[in-house]
Symmetry: C2
Subunit: 137 residues, 2 copies
């Protein structure tokens, strides 16, 4: 009886531990090996000469507010150029927006919050570059 | 006695299940909420008119081979432009390389495998844009 209970405890522990490992593996593999393709929306800004620090910050804050306003944005990050290669073509800001699919991107582009942001940015940018792509490895 | 063993089994199961959930939460939170900043290296290519499909594919294959040759590349993805906005400035390809830090990027740039790739690409691209940034949310 003691052995049976011991075996039962051991089996239960092994089962739960195995489930734990499986869950852990699946989630930790997600960032690197996920086969799920995502739609990336890469936006580069070059600001006009004379744009103030406050105006640049208003653009940064404006873009950063969009994920909270447009629910088809699945992920968002941004940063300012620090490439030592001298090939940034004057683009100082990169905003990197992720959608699940084209439907998500197509809901974002005409969205009132995005259009308000476009109006905010317009007067300050000398150049904009936008590239969208489906992720491939 | 039976109750004690029952309680022991239950406690053990709860402990392992809790550990399982904790592990799962930590890993699943990683992609979206990780406070760890990464260094992104965004590369856009515009190919010269007359570049053949095979030459473009050789460039794609060449870039895709770099993560296997340069171990400071922490993540890699790429894709071809499908933006409907008409602001891609002729850039058709985006390669998105992730490093842990500037040391990783600085090991990549002069790396023999990268330099070989630069030689392969050079004759075919009309324009290149490179922006590096530390991820911010």
């Amino acid at each position: 009886m003691r052995q049976t209970i011991g075996t039962a405890i051991l089996s239960a522990l092994i089962a739960v531990a195995t489930m734990s490992l499986m869950t852990s593996d699946q989630t930790s593999a997600q960032p690197k090996d996920a086969p799920r393709k995502m739609l990336r929306h890469v936006v580069l800004f070059k600001f006009k000469e004379g744009t103030t620090k406050e105006q640049v910050q208003a653009v940064e804050t404006g873009f950063r507010s969009l994920p909270g306003k447009i629910d088809t944005i699945r992920d968002f990050e941004w940063g300012t150029d620090i490439s030592p290669e001298g090939k940034s073509k004057g683009f100082t800001h990169c905003f990197f927006v992720t959608f699940a699919d084209e439907k998500g991107r197509d809901a974002y582009l005409p969205h009132a919050a995005h259009q308000d942001f476009v109006k905010l940015v317009g007067p300050h940018v000398e150049d904009v570059c936008v590239v969208d792509y489906w992720t491939q490895k």
